[in-house]
Amino acid sequence: MAKKNEITESSLENLTFEQALKELQNIVDKLETGQVTLEEAIEMYERGIKLSKYCLHKLTQAELRIKKIIKDESQGFTLIDFDDFNNKI
């Protein structure tokens, strides 16, 4: 069980916002069908808390980041802050 928790927690970090939201939706769908045991429901509940928190965290913590992409000679790309914007506004 400990192991399982570790896996879910680490995988949460790797989820995109969209994937987390989709999983949340899936939990709702599964719970709505009623075809889950109490244990499963509680696991989903716990997962639901984590997913909701994760989504809200992503939504509320993040500030808009603005980067400018620069291509160098070797076809590599570098991102730099788009400062021009702040200077010009």
């Binding site: 400990a2 995109t16 916002f17 509940y45 809200l56 808009l64 400018k68």
Partner: protein, 409 residues
């Protein structure tokens, strides 16, 4: 009254028809091949399909008619309105019953942009024939893009508007600006290269290509074939956002989504964060409700069991279970009584309150959960002698082996 123009012979008297006919004979042959420029006013499309308008400049005006057979051709891809400056070709006709003259138009184009308009139409038809605009090639725009590539001028109003709107609606994203020239020599090549580069770079979920409003010449880079091809070949979905709402560009047709303006593209590419938060709140509320319902049902079952079996004392898990269920139900009622205060702003707090329902917290109060193969053990019947099991405590797991069975004291 004295007549300065004595009538010499009665034969000199004309009928209105005769006079009008003579004027007609005199005028019409000399005005058969007229190129005329002017500004449209009183523009009306008649139910018959014929179009009537007046052409004027500062000092004069002339009525004009465009018969349906020509209107069908020239109005197919272009809509005229009062105030438009146009170039027309036609002939002068005198309409005898009313003694009026007008120009009968057999060609019309917006003044000054005729050549570009023709180029536009030709390229549009060519690419359409090749299937570049087909719906089956349109890629879906991701609902929640993480990184948004923007190909536009770093100094224009467009980028400023897009940044403002996105930071207001959904700041939890990253904008990757690929600065390009959006008009003048080499602009089309830069735009096309930027689209290819962003595909090569790969780490954007969607690309907005566009610029703010301007004349047709200003917007022309977005009507170049090289840009259209780059958009078509892009593996990353592209939103085209060129000029104002009324401006259509080739890039609009070939892109996966057309936004009427750059600002509109910003509105389309991200949702409103408040709506999304509301959505999550609803998900969470539903999960909560359904789980509580499940717990209540389980509680009823447990109560039923404890009554039907002649237990002197309920065994431990049963007691634990009922307590936990009570706990959860109580917390639910408290939470629900506050439900209406729970607006978006304190949603995080709300979440924390719900979190206190977490069964894991029971562990903190000294309860333990026994697992075998990852499943909760409810009865000693599920564990045989020498079976291994895990006991979950608040701070971790301990492992055990069944040595013997005993009765609870």
């Amino acid at each position: 009254m004295y007549n300065y123009f004595p009538l010499i012979s009665k034969e000199k008297i004309l009928t209105v028809s005769e006079l009008t006919y003579q004027i007609k004979k005199l005028v019409e042959p000399n005005f058969q091949d007229i190129w005329l420029q002017g500004e449209i006013s009183n523009y009306k499309i008649h139910a018959s399909g014929h179009v009537y308008f007046t052409l004027k400049d500062e000092n004069a005006s002339i009525d004009a008619a465009l018969w349906k057979r020509y209107a069908d051709i020239y109005l197919k891809n272009y809509t005229y309105k009062d105030g438009d400056k146009v170039l027309v070709h036609g002939k002068i006709e005198i309409y005898e019953p009313r003694g009026e003259y007008k120009i009968i138009v057999d060609f019309i184009e917006p003044l000054g942009i005729g050549e570009l308009q023709i180029k536009f139409e030709m390229l549009k038809q060519k690419l359409a024939a090749e299937g570049l605009f087909d719906a089956r090639f349109k890629k879906p725009i991701p609902e929640y893009p993480n990184r948004i590539g923007i190909v536009t001028s770093p100094t224009g109003a467009a980028i400023r508007d897009m940044i403002n709107i996105i930071s207001r609606r959904f700041p939890a994203v990253e904008l990757i600006l690929y600065p390009v020239k959006v008009q003048g020599d080499g602009a089309a090549e830069e735009i096309a290269q930027a689209i290819r580069d962003l595909n090569f770079y790969g780490k954007v979920d969607v690309i907005i290509v566009g610029r703010g409003g301007g004349s047709i010449e200003d917007l022309w880079a977005f009507n170049e074939e090289i840009v259209a091809r780059a958009i078509f070949e892009s593996k990353i979905p592209i939103i085209s956002a060129v000029g104002h709402e009324i401006d259509y560009s080739i890039s609009d047709f070939v892109a996966d989504l057309r936004a009427p303006t750059p600002s509109a593209a910003a509105e389309l590419v991200v949702k409103n964060r408040d709506d999304v938060i509301e959505n999550i709140r609803n998900f969470w509320y539903t999960i909560h409700q359904l789980t509580i319902e499940k717990i209540k049902n389980a509680k009823k079952e447990v109560e039923h069991l404890t009554k039907s079996y002649a237990f002197n004392r309920p065994i431990d898990w049963l007691r634990q279970y009922t307590m936990r269920l009570d706990e959860l139900t109580r917390a639910l009622e408290i939470a629900m009584s506050h439900r209406f205060e729970l607006i978006k702003n304190n949603f995080e707090q709300w979440l924390k309150r719900f979190e206190s329902l977490n069964p894991e917290l029971a562990l903190k109060r000294g309860y333990a959960i026994v697992y075998k193969d990852g499943k909760i053990v409810h009865s000693k019947e599920e564990l045989k002698l020498n079976d291994e099991f895990n006991v979950k405590l608040s701070d971790g797991i301990i492992k055990g082996v069944v040595k013997e069975y005993g009765e609870e004291k």
